[in-house]
């Protein structure tokens, strides 16, 4: 501490307060008459209410009191509280599935059961097991076994028929019985099982059943010419069945039935338009055109004035809801409603993703990875009610409270306290709903932008792509490294290293892919292996944070040229992530930029940048202007 409590005249106790979307941070410092700053303590608490609204007061006071307690100062000594000029930013997420796979006339079964029976290819006419007795000898048949048949009975019936001369070349079962039946057959044949809607398999049709050896995939039915050979197709027909072959690629087992006009189609679902207004243009883009087309349109409409989605679609609903929420937040009783023009969608991020969905017309609950587009949108208003927050804070604390600076500028200011950083510097604040960037040039000019899409979108992508249906689990996958529990006493981490334990791990994680949360390993309920989950997690982060980092930096970089930047400092909650900072640094490396996670004041890590930036800005001012005044 460089000053005494009742230090020399002119020493002032100030608190910088940053009200963010999710956290409110405070920084307590003494500012000497010469502008010197002694930092006394910081605090962090959850933001109360939507940022930029009077509900923030409670959280702000909590953070101020926390910083005072840590700094060992009483509230009565505070000269000025400095608040950031925070405008409300609300973000929303939506997802539209844009493709649909449809099987008609039950032409194929491609669900890939874990345990098919037998091996090889069998081609014959489909016959119900009850009708096997009347099957013509010498005519190859594919036996169809409905639900309710015991495996012993089914095997016995087939063996009896075979003994009587029937030529059973393959079987299709409703239950999970393929290995059981095959093991009991006098003459083993390929068997596909777990076909829940087996009664829909058309009887009396030519069908092919193929099962590959363990660890292999089918070769004939996934090959258009293989299908052509099996079913004696002409070139036109071959062209028609090629989607079937494609759909079966990678499976260990499959059934194809030759029906008059059976087909597998991959249909695009029209899900409406996105209307983007900006740069004097109004652009329309079909959402089902995919992320690339949407983002290209967004780029052409920069700066975006507003966006609308088609009513009745997820995207339309989401955009409307984001807008409505903002309107609700901004409306003050007794005052005229906020003009809609002030509540406009200012950025949209589209990301291609996929959603596991059950195939229409499938017989065995086949799941196809359908294409989808995830959208994040952001609305911010120019209207801030921070002055009201400042008044309330002042009243609650009994000290003056002023708006001390604009968020982005203050963030850069604070980031400059990171050791090793100098102007020109850009900061990237990696938050929950939006990714923010600000640039401070060598000359001291500052520009700032917010772009849509951040941590919450990553969670949503992980949730839907892994079909978890549980945001808490998805959040865990996002935040913590993975491991596979290989025994009760060891796990293999995602980097391949093994860790041993003295005490046995809890039974519910045994043999599972887990996330290593601070509370211990938590299982990820998925059939996918660790590598798949890891790849998907990193890809989700890349598509959101790396893409947005580049997008945001381009918007603040001189002439849109990222190479013109020298230092990039990562801030915000997601800058604490175990891999996002590295991914962004890797992406920026080719541009010759120094990029890393901030360490505000040399102690705070990526936290407290705005709050300490407010204090720094204040300290720089009074030297020239004397009394506390808002920094512009």
């Amino acid at each position: 501490m460089s000053t005494r409590d009742d230090g020399p005249t002119g020493t002032r106790l100030v608190v910088g307060v940053d009200i963010g979307n999710s956290t409110t941070e405070a920084c307590l410092a003494e500012v000497g008459p010469d502008g010197s700053v002694s930092y006394l303590g910081t605090d962090l608490t959850r933001t109360t209410g939507v940022k930029g609204t009077p509900a923030n007061t409670a959280g702000a006071l909590t953070a101020i009191r926390g910083a005072l307690a840590r700094g060992g100062r009483g509230a009565d000594r505070v000269a000025t509280v400095l608040l950031n000029e925070a405008t409300p930013v609300i973000s929303g997420l939506a997802m539209e599935t844009i493709t649909e796979t449809i099987i008609t006339e039950s032409t194929m079964i491609g669900h890939n059961p874990t345990t098919p029976g037998g091996e090889g290819l069998g081609v014959g006419t489909t016959v119900s097991i009850a009708g096997l007795g009347t099957a013509e000898p010498g005519q190859p048949v594919v036996c169809v076994v409905p639900p309710g048949w015991d495996f012993d009975d089914a095997a016995a019936a087939i063996n009896t028929a075979v003994a009587g001369g029937a030529e059973v070349v393959a079987a299709i079962l409703a239950g999970d019985d393929a290995v059981l039946v095959t093991n009991r057959l006098t003459r083993p044949v390929p068997v596909v099982d777990e076909v829940a809607a087996v009664e829909k398999v058309p009887l009396g049709m030519l069908a092919a059943v193929e099962v590959a050896p363990p660890g292999r995939t089918i070769r004939t039915l996934s090959n258009s010419y293989g299908l052509a050979t099996v079913f004696e197709l002409d070139p036109a027909q071959t062209r028609q069945v090629s989607p079937v072959a494609r759909a079966l690629t990678g499976n260990r087992s499959a059934v194809v039935v030759r029906t008059p006009s059976g087909d597998v189609t991959d249909r695009r679902i029209p899900v409406g338009e996105l209307v983007l207004r900006g740069a004097g243009k109004t652009l329309r883009v079909d959402v089902d055109a995919g992320a690339e087309a949407i983002m290209e349109a967004v780029a052409r409409a920069q700066p975006l004035d507003d966006a609308h989605g088609e009513p009745g679609t997820h995207v339309g609903g989401m955009l409307a809801q984001v807008r409505d929420t903002m309107a609700d937040v901004m409306d003050t009783p007794g005052q005229p409603a906020v003009p809609v023009s002030e509540i406009a969608i200012r950025d949209v991020l589209a990301v291609d993703t996929f959603v596991p969905a059950e195939v229409r017309g499938g017989l065995a609950g086949e799941v196809a990875l359908e294409n989808a587009v995830a959208l994040a949108a952001m609305v911010r208003t120019s209207r801030s009610r921070m002055q009201l927050v400042a008044d309330l804070v002042s009243e609650g604390l009994g000290a003056a409270a002023v708006i001390g600076g604009v968020e982005g500028e203050m963030a850069v200011n604070g980031a400059l306290t990171t050791p090793g950083v100098d102007r020109p510097v850009a900061v990237l604040d990696l938050g929950g709903g939006s990714t923010d960037a600000a640039l401070l040039t060598r000359e001291g000019e500052c520009t700032a932008v917010h772009v849509a899409g951040a941590g919450e979108l990553v969670t949503k992508l992980i949730d839907s792509e892994l079909a978890l249906g549980d945001r808490e689990v998805a959040e865990g996958v996002k935040r913590f490294p993975l491991a596979k529990v290989e025994s009760f006493f060891h796990v293999r981490h995602e980097d391949g290293t093994v860790q041993f334990f003295d005490q046995p791990l809890p039974p519910h994680v045994y043999a599972r892919v887990v996330v290593l949360s601070p509370e211990g390993p938590a299982p990820v309920p998925t059939r996918h292996g660790l590598d798949h989950v890891r790849r998907l997690r990193r890809e989700a982060k890349r598509r959101v944070f790396v893409v947005n980092a580049l997008r945001a930096l381009r918007q603040v970089a001189p002439g849109g040229n990222i190479r013109a930047l020298e230092f990039v400092v990562l801030l915000g909650g997601s800058a604490l992530d175990f891999e996002i900072p590295d991914m962004i640094a890797d992406a920026l490396a080719p541009y010759g930029i120094v990029c890393g996670t901030g360490n505000v004041l040399g102690t705070e890590g990526p936290r407290n940048a705005v709050a300490s930036g407010l204090v720094r800005a204040y300290a720089a001012e009074p030297v020239r202007s004397g009394p506390a005044a808002p920094v512009r």
Partner: protein
Amino acid sequence: MTTPTTTAPPERTVTLREIGPARRGTRPDEVVVALSPAFAGHFSKTIVDVPHAEVLRQLMAGIEEQGVTARLIRVRDTADLAAISHIAAKMSGSGISVGILSRGTTMIHQKDLARLSNLELFPQSPLLDAPVFRMIGSNAAQYAKGESPQPVPTRNDQMARPRWQAKAALLHLKEFECIEADRGPVEVEAVFGPGTAG
């Protein structure tokens, strides 16, 4: 509810033939199924009348379908499910076992776990039917293969208490009566009676 046995009305039976003292297995692809003292002996069906023959067939089928081998033992000196299952897990080449009491209560165990712990427990014997036993066998086999099966969904019924609580206690006491102290576990072979073809 439909069960895989609906088309086979003639009830299958099972007798257990003792082969000799149970031994620790070495095959990593086996699951040891441990039967309680009165299973398929003093008793022939579970608390809700699922025949023990069917219980055993389905458990073994679930294991076989996964390409894993089932080995049966009978534990004679205890009727405590955790103890039965744990003894079996220690004898299992894969370290995985399924333990089952006469009334149907079932547990999947693993050799490195504490005796009173388990991988999956199915405590509500009145709610266990043939398809559930199949899934239990299948899951045990998947654990043996080092896979991560989704736990078999457990069911609950608030009114099971008035209907079954006392009978469960009675069956438990009867099972206790069949305990033969100081007799170690024996390896057994299941010989299924009429109705089977395999």
